[in-house]
Structure formats: structure tokens, C-alpha cells
């Protein structure tokens, strides 16, 4: 049985070759002697939403930046689609099929909403500089395709009516949707979301949750977020960081019931009080029981 089963088994692992699996293994990051991350590992499985939570200063953003090449780890392995990324550079991200949003919105202020999203679709363009400069037909077609693609992304996020506006003239939640459209328009295999719910009202957050669940059929998502109810609702897996160390990992239920997590949140200073309150709230008043 064993020897017979083996080929099929290895065949299957090869078939389901980690098309969009991100593996971070043993990541250490030191900033001038201060350890920001100590031996952190996580795997974002294809088609899943992986949450990254922890009190302020836990190292979430650092790990996030490691995943997109902005911070180079002191040691550790980053494996994307089965290949180790030794010198991951931010500008290669979209080509590798990875998109990220920024804390806040990070839209280009002097460009229209549509143009902002078009930059996100940039890697899909074909026409070279010369044909662009000489306004050759290829460049024209190229530009039109970008425009259409950007418009579709805006429509998906219900922001198409703002296409001609400048970001500064739009309400914050709309700007966040545009930023999301800009990340989605690149059609990534992995979407890195950095606090997408910050500054959103309750119902907008709900919409965001549904949106995240709806894109998972097309890509995996790594989500850094403070709003516990959103995290618990949309994530398949959660990794909890505290002081640069991984203190818990698992499904939302497992994480919620992990005493180390509760302690990390409650033990933290005033800053995390709101988080802690939300966590206990999400736990359904377990402390009373």
C-alpha cells in the first residue's frame, strides 16, 4: 500500500504546487540591535485569508514589510510559489503577483482616481517608451486597455462614479476603496492588506469583510487589522504576534480560546485597551463564564 500510494501522493503535491502559497520561515529582524521579530513563521495558504494580529508594537507591520520586500530580514526564508525569494524588491512585487495596500490610503494626490488605479494596472501594459513617445497606435491601444481595466476594478468596488475626481476631494472611506481597487487591478495572487478597516464605519467594515471573502476565490490574502470582529469573521487562519514573537496561531476559534492571546492583549498598556475590549467582546464574554 505504502509504496504504491507514494507516487500518487507526490504527484498530488506537485499538481497542487503552491501556486500562491507564501511561506515565511524563521524570520528574524533586528533594527540596530533591537529585535523587532524573533523566529516568526507563517504560511498563507492559497485561497485563504490569513490574519495577522497583535497589540501595538508587536511587529505586525514589520512582518508585513518583510513579506513585500520593504524590510530585509536578518535571517529566515521567504518562499513564494515554491521559490525562495532571496532579494525580494518592492518593485518586483506586482510582477510576482503580489499587491499590497498601505496603512492610510497612499493615493497619488495630483492624479485622478482613474489614473491612480491605472498605475496599479501598470504591469499589464505593453507599449514601450518609444511608441508611447511617438504616440504609435500600439500605445493608444495599450492606454485604452489600461483605462478599461482600471474602470472595471473601480466598478467592482462601486467607485466608478468617482473616476474623474481627485482623491483629496473624496471622503476617506471612498479613498480606501480606490486604494483597494488599485491593489486589485493588478490581479494579484496574493493581496497584502495593511489595516484596511481603519477609519471605516461599522457598515463599511461589513462591506469590506464581504469584499475580502469574495476575492479569496481569486487570490490569497494576508490581513493586518486591529478590528477583531472583522478579523474573526473573515480569516481562515490567524497568527498572533506579541513583542516580535509568535504567541499563537490557528483558526479564529483556536486563537480566541488561547489564554496567551488574552493575556497579551490585556497585559498591554492603555494603547491596546480598545483592542482588548474588542477581543473580549468577540469572545462572547468568555471571562464571565
Amino acid at each position: 500500500m505504502g509504496p504504491l500510494a507514494q507516487p500518487t501522493g507526490s504527484q498530488r503535491t506537485h499538481d497542487s504546487a503552491p501556486t500562491s502559497r507564501l511561506e515565511l520561515t524563521g524570520i528574524n529582524v533586528a533594527f540596530g540591535g533591537v529585535l523587532a521579530l524573533t523566529d516568526v513563521s507563517l504560511v498563507v495558504e492559497p485561497g485563504q485569508v490569513h490574519g495577522l494580529i497583535g497589540p501595538n508594537g508587536a511587529g505586525k507591520t514589520t512582518l508585513f514589510n518583510v513579506a513585500c520586500g520593504l524590510v530585509r530580514p536578518t535571517s529566515g526564508r521567504i518562499v513564494w510559489r515554491g521559490e525562495e525569494m532571496r532579494r525580494l524588491r518592492p518593485s518586483q512585487l506586482t510582477k510576482l503577483g503580489i499587491s499590497r495596500t498601505l496603512q492610510g490610503v497612499g493615493l497619488f494626490p495630483g492624479m485622478t482616481v482613474l489614473e491612480n488605479v491605472m498605475v496599479g494596472a501598470h504591469r499589464h501594459g505593453r507599449a514601450g517608451f518609444l511608441s508611447a513617445l511617438l504616440a504609435l497606435p500600439t500605445s493608444d491601444k495599450d492606454e485604452r486597455l489600461l483605462r478599461e481595466r482600471a474602470m472595471r476594478a473601480l466598478t467592482e468596488l462601486n467607485a466608478e462614479k468617482f473616476a474623474g475626481r481627485y482623491p483629496g476631494s473624496l471622503p476617506y472611506p471612498v479613498q480606501k476603496r480606490v486604494a483597494l481597487a488599485r491593489a486589485l487591478v493588478a490581479e494579484p495572487d496574493l493581496l497584502l492588506l495593511d489595516e484596511p478597516a481603519s477609519g471605516l464605519a461599522e457598515d463599511e467594515m461589513h462591506e469590506l469583510g464581504e469584499l475580502i471573502r469574495s476575492v479569496v476565490s481569486r487570490m490569497s490574502v494576508l490581513l493586518v487589522e486591529h478590528h477583531m470582529d472583522l478579523v474573526m469573521r473573515v480569516c481562515d487562519q490567524i497568527t498572533v504576534l506579541d513583542s516580535g514573537k509568535q504567541i499563537a496561531a490557528g483558526t479564529p476559534e483556536q486563537v480566541q480560546n488561547d489564554p496567551a492571546v488574552t493575556e497579551a492583549y490585556l497585559g498591554d498598556a492603555v494603547d491596546a485597551e480598545a483592542d482588548a475590549a474588542e477581543l473580549t467582546h468577540a469572545e462572547g464574554g468568555r471571562t464571565h463564564g
Binding site: 513585500c68 518592492p90 518593485s91 518586483q92 512585487l93 506586482t94 510582477k95 499590497r100 498601505l102 497612499g106 497619488f108 494626490p109 495630483g110 492624479m111 489614473e115 491605472m118 498605475v119 496599479g120 501598470h122 504591469r123 501594459g125 507599449a127 517608451f129 508611447a132 513617445l133 504616440a135 500605445s139 495599450d142 492606454e143 489600461l146 488599485r182 493588478a186
Partner: protein, 294 residues
């Protein structure tokens, strides 16, 4: 009345050249937050290349195209080799580097082409058109100057507005980090930006040289005027640079034409305008005051 029209047209023509030079400064400022003090000598260098070609028997137009192309190359190489190491560093470093480059290129021109005054041809006449028996103060040369600057600006607008490369260049100018995350090759865009800026700078150098004399430092006054024009416009705004250039061109032409011994006062007038703008509206006419901190 004729005199007024004449002075105004002269001012507009000169202003167009200031606009082009200011635009070159603004393009570089927007993308790299560096004021390129070497812009003038870079343009002078390409003008001397054109002059050498013309003296060797080539037509003005061949010389023009070669000069603009070499301007692009010079701008790109300067960014890649000399500016890249100081980009994003302390502002003073970049200032010192571009000032050093300004002196070095000027000296190089003197070594290669000599430092004597040499006349530079213009492809069109400088006599006014005749309409109904009387001569109007519009000359073919001024039409050429205005037209070539307008065409160049239209091409730039088209590039920035309607092409993927232009989109990427604008994105890089607003935020290098964000653009990079979106897959824009920011380094390449900066090189391209410097190259294009140098083309526009070269054009202004060729235009101001036309029908006059060139020597290694002949661009020095244009640097001052172009810089003032850029500041009037707000240093951040291409449209501002163009309007600033036209305002300055007109103002200086009126000073020259109506003030007694005005020609001696032109440079002073430019600096007075600069000071007034900085006092009254330090952000320039076309940029929000908060947009400029440096």
C-alpha cells in the same frame, strides 16, 4: 500703440523661452526635489554641439535634432551617474553637486569649444511680416520660438496625460515608495525625467542663442530668469512654470522698453519680482503654500 505691441510681442517671445527653461527646472524638481543649477550649462553644451555641426556644414535642423538628442542623453547620464548617489539625501548635497556640475560643464565647454564669442544662426528671418504695406512687429523667428516651445509642451502634456510611461512618471513624482510597490521602475522614470527635462532645457538654450552670440557662460542670465519664472509658478507646477515664464518675459520687456535705461535694470527687475513673489506668495502663484516646504 505699435511700440506697445512690439514690446509685448518681444516679451512673449522671450517669455516662452523662460517658460521652457523653467519647465525643465520644474520637471526635475517634481520628480527628485532637486533644483538643477547645472541645467544652464547642460543646455549650453548641447548648443555648442549644434554650433559645431552647423559650422561643419550641417543644416540647422539636423543640428537642432542632434542637440536635443544629446541633451536627452546628457540629462539621463547626469541623473544616473552623478545625481543618483545624492538623491533622497540631505538637500544641500544635491545643491552642491549641481552647482559643481554647473561650473565643471561650463569649463569643459571652454576647453572643447573655446571661450570666444561665436555667432549662432537662426533658421528664419528677424524682419517683421508685412501686412498691407506696413511692417508688423511679428517676425518669423519669434513665431518659430513660440511655435517650437508650444509644440514641445503639447508633446509633454500628451506624454504625461495619455501614456502609460507618463502615468508612471507622474506616480513616481508623487510618491516613489508607493509607485515602486505598484511595480513602477522608479529609477528608470527618474532617469527619463531628467533626460526629458534636459531636452526642454536644451531647446531653450538653442532658442535664446538663435541670431545672437554664444560663449560658455551665455546661459547664465537665462538660469536666473528661468529660476524666477519657476518660483513665480510655484516650482511644483508645469503650468505655473509656463505662466511664470510669460509673466516674467512681459514684465522684463516692459521694463526694458519703457523705463529709462531699462536694459540695465532687467536683471534687477527679475530679482525684485522674485523677492516680491516670495514675500507675498511664497508658495508661488500655482501651488498651495503647504505643498512646498524646502
Amino acid at each position: 500703440m505699435d511700440y506697445f505691441v512690439n514690446v509685448t510681442l518681444t516679451g512673449l517671445t522671450q517669455g516662452m523661452i523662460y517658460s521652457a527653461f523653467a519647465l525643465a527646472l520644474v520637471l526635475i524638481w517634481r520628480s527628485t526635489r532637486i533644483v538643477n543649477f547645472a541645467q544652464g550649462s547642460m543646455a549650453a553644451a548641447t548648443t555648442f554641439i549644434a554650433l559645431a555641426l552647423i559650422q561643419a556644414g550641417q543644416s540647422y535642423w539636423v543640428a537642432l535634432i542632434v542637440a536635443l538628442l544629446s541633451g536627452f542623453l546628457l540629462g539621463a547620464v547626469v541623473e544616473r551617474v552623478i545625481i543618483r548617489p545624492v538623491e533622497g539625501g540631505p538637500e544641500l548635497n544635491a545643491v552642491i553637486v549641481t552647482l559643481g556640475l554647473f561650473v565643471a560643464i561650463q569649463a569643459l565647454i571652454a576647453i572643447v569649444f573655446g571661450s570666444s564669442f561665436q555667432s549662432f544662426p537662426t533658421p528664419f528671418g528677424v524682419r517683421g511680416f508685412e501686412v498691407g504695406g506696413s511692417t508688423i512687429p511679428l517676425t518669423p523667428t519669434s513665431l518659430y520660438v513660440i511655435g517650437s516651445v508650444l509644440i514641445t509642451m503639447a508633446l509633454l502634456v500628451a506624454l504625461f496625460r495619455f501614456t502609460r510611461i507618463g502615468l508612471a512618471m507622474r506616480a513616481s513624482a508623487f510618491s516613489q515608495e508607493v509607485a515602486r510597490l505598484l511595480g513602477v521602475k522608479v529609477g528608470g522614470m527618474l532617469t527619463l525625467g531628467w533626460g526629458l527635462a534636459a531636452v526642454v532645457g536644451s531647446l531653450s538654450g538653442l532658442l535664446i542663442a538663435g541670431g545672437g552670440f554664444v560663449y560658455p557662460a551665455y546661459m547664465d542670465s537665462l538660469i536666473v530668469f528661468g529660476f524666477v519664472a519657476a518660483i513665480i509658478g510655484g516650482l511644483d507646477s508645469p503650468v505655473g512654470a509656463i505662466v511664470g515664464g510669460l509673466i516674467l518675459g512681459l514684465a522684463l520687456s516692459y521694463v526694458n522698453g519703457y523705463v529709462e535705461r531699462g536694459s540695465a535694470l532687467v536683471s534687477v527687475a527679475a530679482l525684485v519680482i522674485l523677492i516680491v513673489v516670495l514675500l507675498v506668495r511664497p508658495g508661488g502663484l500655482f501651488s498651495s503654500t503647504t505643498a512646498r516646504r524646502a
